[in-house]
C-alpha cells in the first residue's frame, strides 16, 4: 500500500479508542498524530534508513552510451551461479541507466523458470514518471543467458528497471540445489514485524502512557496487515523468523483502486468513530453516511468475484 493509505489507516485505528477521540475533541492532537506516524513508521524505517546501509556484493551498471542487454543477462546468470557454487547468499544490485536529467533507459528482467534462463530486454527511454519520451530502440535490445541452477522466486518473474535506484536481489542457496531470489530484501524485513511494533508501542507507553502505547501498537499492526494483502509479504515474526511470510496476493501494493479504497474506508471509519463519540442525535445525514460506509465494505468481495470471472 502507498503511504497515504497506511497513514489514514493508522489514524483510523486511533479513532477506535474513545479516550483518543475525547482527547482530540478537547484540543489534544497527540493520539491521532501518533496513529498516523505509527501507521507509516515501518516504511519510514526501510526507505529512509535501512536501505542506505544494506550492502551488496556486486552491482550491474550498464553503460548509458551503449547499454547491452546480453551483458546484463550474463552478469545476472553469473551471480546466480556464484551463489550456488559458494553456498553463500549473494547480494546483487541492478542499477538504473540514467541518460539525462529526466531521461532513463528502461529495461526489463524476466526469469523464465521453465527454460531455466534469464531474459533482459531494453525498453523505451522514459522520464522519471515512467512515461516513454522517445521511440528509439537500443542496438542490442534483447539478451538471454542460461541459468546453471533452478531459481525459485518469491516475487514476480518480471522486473522493470527505469528511474532512480534499481532493485537489489538477495540470491540464497536452498537445500536440494538451486537458489531462491529475494526481491529488495531490505524492505519488509525486521521493520514489518509485530515485535518492532511492540517496541515502538513500549516507547510510546513510556513517553505518553498506556493509551499512546495501544494506539501505536494498533496503527503499526495495521501497516503490517495491510501490506500482507499484497504479493511480497513481510517478515511478521522477526526475530524468531528470518524470512518473509508470503502475502495473500489479493492486490498489488501500487494498485490505484486498492489504495483509493483503503483511504476512503479509513476516512469513513474515522468519521463514524467521531460521530459515535460525539453524542449527537442520529440525523438523516449521518444515516446516509453509514449506508455509504457499510455498502463500501461490500466492494472488495464484489471486486474479488469479478476478478475471478472468466474473461
Amino acid at each position: 500500500m502507498k503511504g497515504i493509505a497506511h497513514f489514514t489507516a493508522g489514524v483510523a485505528v486511533a479513532s477506535c479508542f474513545p479516550a483518543a477521540v475525547q482527547s482530540g475533541a478537547s484540543g489534544n492532537p497527540l493520539y491521532f498524530v501518533l496513529g498516523g506516524v505509527a501507521g507509516l513508521m515501518a516504511d519510514t524505517l526501510d526507505f529512509k534508513f535501512y536501505r542506505f546501509f544494506y550492502r551488496h556484493d556486486a552491482e550491474i551498471t550498464p553503460d548509458p552510451l551503449a547499454p547491452d542487454a546480453t551483458q546484463i543477462a550474463d552478469a545476472l546468470a553469473e551471480a546466480v551461479a556464484q551463489a550456488s557454487r559458494n553456498g553463500r547468499p549473494f547480494r546483487l544490485r541492478l542499477n538504473s541507466i540514467r541518460l539525462g536529467p529526466d531521461e532513463w533507459q528502461s529495461y526489463r528482467v524476466n526469469f523464465n523458470l521453465h527454460e531455466d534462463e534469464v531474459r533482459v530486454e531494453l525498453g523505451p527511454v522514459v522520464d522519471t514518471g515512467g512515461s516513454p519520451v522517445s521511440d528509439a530502440v537500443a542496438e542490442c535490445p534483447v539478451g538471454i543467458a542460461k541459468l546453471e541452477v533452478p531459481v525459485h522466486l518469491e516475487y514476480f518473474a518480471d522486473v522493470r528497471i527505469d528511474a532512480f535506484e534499481g532493485p537489489l536481489f538477495r540470491i540464497l542457496p536452498v537445500s536440494g540445489g538451486g537458489v531462491r531470489l529475494e526481491f529488495i530484501p531490505w524492505h519488509r524485513s525486521w521493520s514489518h514485524s509485530f515485535f518492532v511494533g511492540a517496541c515502538c508501542a513500549l516507547v510510546a507507553l513510556m513517553l505518553w502512557g498506556r493509551l499512546a502505547g495501544a494506539v501505536v501498537m494498533g496503527a503499526y499492526s495495521s501497516h503490517i496487515l495491510l501490506d500482507q494483502l499484497g504479493y511480497l509479504g513481510s517478515n511478521l515474526f522477526w526475530p524468531f523468523s528470518r524470512s518473509r511470510t508470503p502475502g495473500l496476493k489479493m492486490q498489488h501494493s501500487g494498485n490505484a483502486f486498492a489504495n483509493f479504497y483503503a483511504v476512503w474506508l479509513s476516512l469513513s471509519l474515522i468519521f463514524l468513530n467521531l460521530a459515535r463519540y460525539a453524542s449527537l442525535p442520529d440525523e438523516g445525514g449521518l444515516l446516509s453516511f453509514r449506508l455509504v460506509f457499510w455498502s463500501a465494505l461490500l466492494l472488495p468481495p464484489v471486486w474479488a468475484l469479478l476478478r475471478h470471472l472468466p474473461k
Binding site: 497515504i4 552491482e59 501500487g254
Partner: protein, 446 residues
C-alpha cells in the same frame, strides 16, 4: 422567481471574462481582484445591502470558476503558479520542454472538466444532505486533522538515493540532503508565517492581501527566476489539441482523487488548495504524470468552487476561502435558492471556461515562441513585483524577497516545494491547538 433573475447569466459571463486576465497574468490572484471589488462594493452600497444577490453570486461564481480552470495556463507554460496549482509546474514544464505544452494544459483541464461534472452531480447533493451533520461532528477535531496533514507532509517525502554505489553513511547522507533541505524549508516557511500573521509589519489589513507577498515569493518567483537564470527555451510546440491522448480510466480516477483532495481542502479551514493537490497526488498513487495532472486540475477547481459553494449550503454556515469571506459581507444566504444560483453559474461559466482553454493556451504559446520564455518570464516577474508593491508597499516587497529565498531552497536542492505551505499550516495549527501565543511571545513578536 426574483425580479433580478435575468441578471444571472450576464453576471456569470462578466465574472468569467474578468477571470481571464486574473488567471493569465502571472502573480495576479483572483482574491486580490475580488478583494478590491468587494471594497468598492462596500463603499458603493453603504450598508452592503444595495446589490442584488442575483448579481453578486453568479458574478463571483463566474470569476472563481473561470480562474480555477484557466490558471493552469501560466502554471504550465510560464511556471508561474498560484499556491493551488503549484504541483502542475514540474510535470507541466517537462511537457513544455518536450514540445507538449498544450498537451499539459489540456490534460489538466480534463481534470477540471471531471470536477465540473462531479460538483453538480455528486458533491452538491451530498453537501445539501450530509454535510451539515458531518460538519457538526468534525468541527471540534479540526486542529488534529491539521497536525496529521503536517505529519504526513513531513513523513511522506522520500529521499532520492544515488543511482549506484555501495551502501553506507555516504550514501545515507547524500540521500538525506534533500530531506534535510525539505525540513529546513518547512521550518523557515513556518517562521515566516508566524511573522506575517502576528508581527505588525504594516500591510496586513490592506484589501485582504496579507498572504500575497509570501505566496508570490514562495510559489511564483522562484521558477521565474530559474527561467531567467537558466535561459532554456522550449522547443517548437505541437499545437493540435486533437493529438492529446488520455485513457478514460485515468480521467475518471484522477478526477475522483482530485475531487477528494480538493473537497478535503475546501471543507477544512486553513487547509489550502496546495495541500488538497498534494493529498490528491498521493491518493492517485501512480507515477503516470497525466493522471497526476488530471488530479491537480480537479483538486484546484473543487477547492476554489467547492469552498465558495459551501457558504450557500443551508444550515451549514461556514465560510471557506477568500471568495466566500468577501461575498459574506454582501450576501446572506437564506434558502436553497442562493445555492442553486451559484451552482448554475458555476456550471455555465465552467463549460465556457473549458472552451477558452485551448485558444488562450495557443495565444500564450505564440507569445513565448515570439518573445522567448526568458523575456516573457522577465515581464511576468516585473508585473508581479509591481503588483506586490502596489498592494502591500515596501514591507510587502521585503516579505516577498524573504519568501523567494525560502522558495528557492527546494528548487535548487531538489527537495519538495510543498514544504513552503508551512507558511500557513504551522502558525495556524499551533494557534488552533492553543500554543501559538506562547511561540509568538517566544519569538518576541508580541
Amino acid at each position: 422567481m426574483s425580479e433580478h433573475f435575468y441578471m444571472i447569466v450576464p453576471a456569470a459571463l462578466a465574472g468569467l471574462m474578468l477571470s481571464v486576465p486574473c488567471a493569465c497574468v502571472p502573480g495576479l490572484h483572483i482574491y486580490n481582484i475580488l478583494g478590491l471589488l468587494a471594497l468598492g462594493a462596500y463603499h458603493l452600497s453603504g450598508a452592503c445591502s444595495g446589490i442584488p444577490s442575483e448579481l453578486t453570486i453568479p458574478f463571483v461564481s463566474g470569476m472563481l470558476t473561470g480562474y480555477a480552470v484557466l490558471n493552469t495556463i501560466p502554471a504550465v507554460l510560464l511556471a508561474a503558479p498560484d499556491e493551488s496549482s503549484m504541483f502542475t509546474v514540474q510535470p507541466g514544464q517537462k511537457m513544455l520542454m518536450r514540445g507538449r505544452g498544450l498537451d499539459g494544459v489540456i490534460t489538466t483541464a480534463f481534470g477540471s472538466a471531471g470536477a465540473l461534472l462531479l460538483i453538480p452531480l455528486v458533491l452538491a447533493p451530498l453537501a445539501l444532505t450530509v454535510l451539515p451533520t458531518i460538519y457538526k461532528i468534525v468541527r471540534p477535531h479540526t486542529h488534529w486533522v491539521l497536525w496529521c496533514v503536517i505529519a504526513f507532509m513531513l513523513m511522506s517525502e522520500w529521499p532520492h538515493p544515488l543511482p549506484n554505489g555501495q551502501a553506507g553513511l555516504r550514501r545515507f547522507l547524500a540521500a538525506w540532503k534533500s530531506l534535510a533541505i525539505g525540513l529546513l524549508t518547512f521550518l523557515l516557511a513556518g517562521l515566516l508565517g508566524f511573522i506575517i500573521f502576528f508581527a505588525p509589519i504594516g500591510y496586513t489589513a490592506t484589501a485582504f492581501q496579507n498572504l500575497l507577498p509570501a505566496f508570490v515569493g514562495l510559489f511564483t518567483m522562484p521558477w521565474l527566476l530559474m527561467n531567467l537564470v537558466s535561459g532554456v527555451e522550449p522547443p517548437p510546440q505541437k499545437s493540435d489539441a486533437a493529438t492529446v491522448t488520455l485513457c478514460p480510466g485515468s480521467v475518471v480516477y484522477g478526477s475522483l482523487a482530485g475531487a477528494l483532495g480538493g473537497g478535503f481542502a475546501a471543507f477544512f479551514p486553513v487547509i489550502t488548495g496546495g495541500v488538497g493537490g498534494f493529498l490528491a497526488g498521493h491518493t492517485v498513487a501512480m507515477r503516470d504524470s497525466r493522471s497526476f495532472l488530471i488530479s491537480q486540475g480537479a483538486s484546484k477547481l473543487v477547492y476554489y468552487v467547492g469552498g465558495f459553494l459551501l457558504f450557500f449550503v443551508p444550515g451549514l454556515g461556514v465560510r471557506r476561502g477568500g471568495g466566500a469571506w468577501m461575498v459574506s459581507g454582501l450576501v446572506t444566504p437564506y434558502t436553497r435558492y442562493e445555492f442553486f444560483t451559484a451552482l448554475s453559474a458555476v456550471a455555465l461559466s465552467g463549460a465556457l471556461a473549458l472552451l477558452l482553454v485551448e485558444p488562450l493556451t495557443k495565444v500564450v504559446l505564440r507569445l513565448i515562441a515570439h518573445a522567448g520564455l526568458r523575456k516573457v518570464s522577465l515581464v511576468a516577474l516585473v508585473v508581479m513585483v509591481g503588483l506586490v508593491y502596489a498592494m502591500t508597499g515596501l514591507a510587502g516587497l521585503l516579505v516577498m524577497l524573504t519568501a523567494t529565498g525560502i522558495g528557492l531552497l527546494p528548487i535548487i536542492y531538489g527537495a519538495r516545494r510543498m514544504n513552503c505551505l508551512a507558511v500557513i499550516l504551522l502558525p495556524m495549527a499551533c494557534n488552533m491547538s492553543g500554543f501559538g501565543a506562547r511561540i509568538v511571545h517566544g519569538m518576541g513578536l508580541l
